[in-house]
Subunit: 339 residues, 2 copies
Amino acid sequence: MTGASAPGPTPEELARGVLAGKSRPIGRAISEVERDSGDVPEILRRVFRETGRARIIGITGPPGAGKSTLVLRLAQAYRRQGRTVGVVAVDPSSPFTGGAILGDRIRMAEIYTDPGVFIRSMATRGTMGGLARATSDAVDILDAAGFQVILIETVGVGQDEVDVVRAADTTAVVLVPGLGDDIQAIKAGILEIADVFIVNKAEREGSDRAVSELSMMLDLSAHGSGSWRPPIVKTTAPSGAGVPEAVQALESHGDYLAQSAEGARRRAVRARSRLLALLEERFRRTIEARAPEPDGLEEAVRGVTARREDPYTAAGRLFDRLVRDAREGAARMTAESAS
Amino acid sequence: MTGASAPGPTPEELARGVLAGKSRPIGRAISEVERDSGDVPEILRRVFRETGRARIIGITGPPGAGKSTLVLRLAQAYRRQGRTVGVVAVDPSSPFTGGAILGDRIRMAEIYTDPGVFIRSMATRGTMGGLARATSDAVDILDAAGFQVILIETVGVGQDEVDVVRAADTTAVVLVPGLGDDIQAIKAGILEIADVFIVNKAEREGSDRAVSELSMMLDLSAHGSGSWRPPIVKTTAPSGAGVPEAVQALESHGDYLAQSAEGARRRAVRARSRLLALLEERFRRTIEARAPEPDGLEEAVRGVTARREDPYTAAGRLFDRLVRDAREGAARMTAESAS
């Protein structure tokens, strides 16, 4: 809030603060990557080499599955092991973003005052694509800052959320009993990304049935390519029951990643999708910037709308033109960054 | 099935068959646009100028809302008005794709034998992005073939489905009573695209409450930019109760589009998003084609994975290189299409 008017630190000071694990620079750095100005976030460039050490865990599932309280309990469990924890919440309904009921807030108070924990919720303004990018960047900041475990909380209901959770090494899908309809509603893509299933609110009727339904589903599907079969853990987040078992399941998966080729494969997949997203963003910006010009996007839109030209032909012509323009832009950028 | 081995018609014959509204060429043309070979579907280029006459209606909503039976009833109602109807089903759980229970199949038999109706379900293999593109193309084929009303059925649970439904002039969101949780689960994006709300399975308890909840929600939100307030209609699809009112609501919106600037605005927005999607697809193909080469995507992935280089710097360098390569490719394509 006050950061806007106060004179900011230099990029070098900011990077030093992040690498020293100081809260205020970390928060400021995440705000910078969140801003989505179209420029390269300078801070990321400065700290990126210091990333790659944290254990990154995604927690996803439908709204109402109790993900936030569970994330809190997991953070506490990791703290008891003496490990520092960063939390990135991408769920707009998350209590971390201010929607907490009183009980949650009291439980959270203890963790908010722990210097070994850093909690940040991401603003959901703008496109989901931008959010996935900013989340990856925020995770990198926390990683560079030395947090040993990073938990990403996201509501899982579609492709966009799958993209957000791609920043994680291990992904837990949280479900609740009576999820017959949920399983239908949750897209197959979400189930496929689960390394661990957590049946939360296990005190509810039907939790055993939920576990056996999930287990059957795993029997039927050739899950993943490797030899890992996602364990299913029951938890009751408010009381903390089952949380040690959940941590154990998450860490078993971490061991599996370290011992098999899967860990390296995932990090490469992640780097790849991140690069592709940045490239596409850059391409889109180039199109948008040139849209109003003669023979630009807007003119093509008018041609297609009036059925003078089919979209494929128009896109082909635009691509040719844009690529020429983009090349000039790229050359300019390269010249600028070299100076 | 047999089309693969039988000698196909020439592009000109195929286009003539589509424009004459003949079933077999229409089916073949849709298969062509569905194939997603990366080439321009020649058939679309040939018939595109004859599109823009159909009234295109999207029907979306959560799984289990009874969309397919409703679409069937709407098709019958439009047929009674003497209008021809095309149906494009993008819902993998749709009975149109073979999942029908017996009663549905009998009801469908009458419509399947009606030459004034063409029903096609889109294969959901491949990416959703590709599916949205193929759906737009299929709608164009049916439009060029002279179908006066085109109904697109799609399960609405995320951004991908919103993209699919963007091909429509008017979009109806179908919900069912007891949707308290549904409203939470259905993303705001889906609600915002509704021009008409249909509360289906209205015989169920709670249908009046569902209507009043939706109505309240509309009061609270500044819905859309124009003066259109989405009407809420109750239907019971199997018996057909409420279907005439649903058609009336859909057609009122059609009148609104024709009389206001909104219709033209939407067609432009659609052309725009279609062009952007095609441009991005082309860009992605260019990246993928060059990925294994020296200084290509794969090398950049290795650099980022090993933290030798941050993703922004790597993407910037790749963009520069790709744009140069793409330019050569585009020049080649232009030369080819000119020959």
